[in-house]
Amino acid sequence: MKGRSISPGKAEGEAIVSSEPIGFYGGIDIKTAVVIEKGHPLEGKKVTDKILVFPFGKGSTVGSYVIYGLKKNNVAPRGIINKETETIVATGVILAGIPCIDQVDIRKIKNGDIIVLDADHGYCEIKK
């Protein structure tokens, strides 16, 4: 699937998919990478080393620092794929150096799919 490159790099990993938006600040623990937002579809799941797939960011503008912190704490996802990456997530992934693309039809990606992400060229592939 062809999308738009937000933050360059290549990654491969297992998809973890959220149908709901993610607010990184208050939504994901910066040290453990576990989703802590009550009632979120991914609550209790860990995003480390996954290809994290969600429609777009929400909530606090401090989310960028949480994404950066996940990377520095060595618990970051390997890559991020969005329907639409807004400024807060974009700032975070660029700063952290996490490959990220958007403008992808994320409904085609299922939990557990193996994803090959080439954010240099704004491209991703479902390997299964």
């Binding site: 738009r4 490159s5 937000i6 938006p21 607010g23 600040y25 208050g26 939504g27 910066i30 040290k31 802590i36 937002e37 009550k38 429609p55 777009f56 960011g57 929400k58 909530g59 606090s60 503008t61 401090v62 989310g63 960028s64 620092y65 949480v66 950066y68 912190g69 990377k71 520095k72 704490n73 639409e84 990456t85 807004e86 400024t87 807060i88 997530v89 974009a90 700032t91 975070g92 660029i94 700063l95």
Partner: protein
């Protein structure tokens, strides 16, 4: 600059001011602290008026409020780094109540989701939802990329909200905002049916929508400045009535009998503090009540004698910080009472608190 390329900005534009979020040590941790210290040590300084978001503690009275010492040490490192960059240590999420009020149509680069919402919607200034670091970059460069909400065509509403409910307490506006934010996510809502809303109520409405969703701009018929100028034909309509508001109260309530009540999310205005002072005059609180605000507003409250009334009743006006970004879970509190939809959104996950969400009268009654 990379953001401008991604979003197809035609040019960079000068910004009138910047609001920098990501200040509490609890929020940004060691990685954020080191990032900021590194920037400061390389001599980065800001080019435009730059205000700062709340810190994780009252920067003056932190000892008295029981803030852990190692937390305070790290918090002061962060404040020091921002100070070196020439950022004003205003420590508030409501810069518009502390002297930085952008004018209509002014381009600004603000982070802090509630302040973004207020400046776009209530003041008619123009900003995207900047992330903490991208706002900082805009402050250092004095410019931002011309895309998104800086352009008039992107400020048009994308969903209509018909409200049919009596909104009395500020918490009613918070509940409405939380519900609508959940429904509309990152859309631009146009409200009809809201008969009146003062600025404190708009502040809490916008904050809740920006917390449960990603709403950066809203319009209210006959109330906000761009409402008469935008196109509202043919929009999807969402109805919100008494039932939805009541259900939202129930949803946000996860606990009862709060250990502590914390008001002022976003930071309290002088009017809100004056109302609380009137309610607490001659009262005797048995359990703690904090009112969070900026240092600027606290000093005004002291001059008016409100601080003395509140302190005598057993409450505290806490400056520079708030219930979400301070380490309340490490201070022995388990259930927090709030009248803010935004606070009720963040306290369960980020602060491990049970929440008692209610109007101000019920909250103060609980603590007596």
């Amino acid at each position: 600059m990379r953001l401008g390329d991604i979003y197809g900005a035609d040019k960079m534009i000068t910004v009138g001011s910047v609001q920098v979020a990501g200040v509490s040590y609890k929020s940004i941790g060691d990685p954020g602290t080191e990032f900021l210290e590194d920037l400061a040590s390389k001599g980065a300084t800001v080019k435009v008026l730059t205000y700062l978001n709340p810190a994780g503690m009252d920067l003056k009275d932190w000892k008295e409020l029981g803030i852990p010492k190692d937390f305070a040490k790290n918090q002061l490192r962060i404040i020091d780094a921002f100070g070196k960059m020439g950022i004003l240590i205003t420590s508030t999420c409501t810069p518009y109540l502390a002297g930085n009020i952008p004018r209509f149509k002014e381009h600004i680069a603000w982070s802090e989701s509630s302040a973004v919402s207020y400046s776009n919607s209530v003041l008619g200034a123009r900003t995207n939802r900047e992330g903490g670091p991208s706002a900082l970059a805009a402050a250092i460069c004095g410019v931002t990329a011309n895309y998104g909400l800086h352009l008039w065509e992107n400020r048009q509403p994308t969903v209509k909200i018909k409200v049919d409910a009596d909104l009395i307490f500020n918490s009613d506006y918070g509940a409405l905002g939380w519900y609508v934010g959940k429904q509309v996510k990152n859309k631009i809502p146009y409200f009809s049916g809201i008969k009146k809303a003062d600025k404190d109520q708009l502040k809490t409405l916008g904050a809740a929508m920006a917390a449960s969703g990603a709403v950066a701009l809203y319009h209210i018929e006959n109330i906000t400045p761009e409402a008469d100028l935008v196109e509202t034909k043919g929009l999807e309509i969402i109805d919100v009535g008494k039932k939805e508001i009541k259900e939202t109260y129930a949803k946000l309530n996860t606990g009862k009998h709060p250990d502590i009540v914390i008001l002022g999310c976003p930071h309290a205005s002088l009017r809100e503090i004056s109302i609380i002072a009137k309610k607490l005059e001659g009262k005797n609180l048995k359990k703690p009540v904090w009112i969070c605000t900026s240092r600027t507003v606290k000093e005004a409250a002291q001059r008016e004698g409100y601080n003395e009334i509140i302190t005598r009743a057993g409450g505290n006006i806490v400056a520079d910080t708030c219930m979400v970004v301070s380490p309340i879970e490490k201070m022995g509190y388990k259930t927090t009472g709030v009248n803010s939809g935004k606070a009720a959104n963040y306290l369960p996950g980020f602060c491990k608190q049970e929440v008692y969400f209610a109007n101000i009268d019920d909250l103060l009654e609980e603590q007596q």
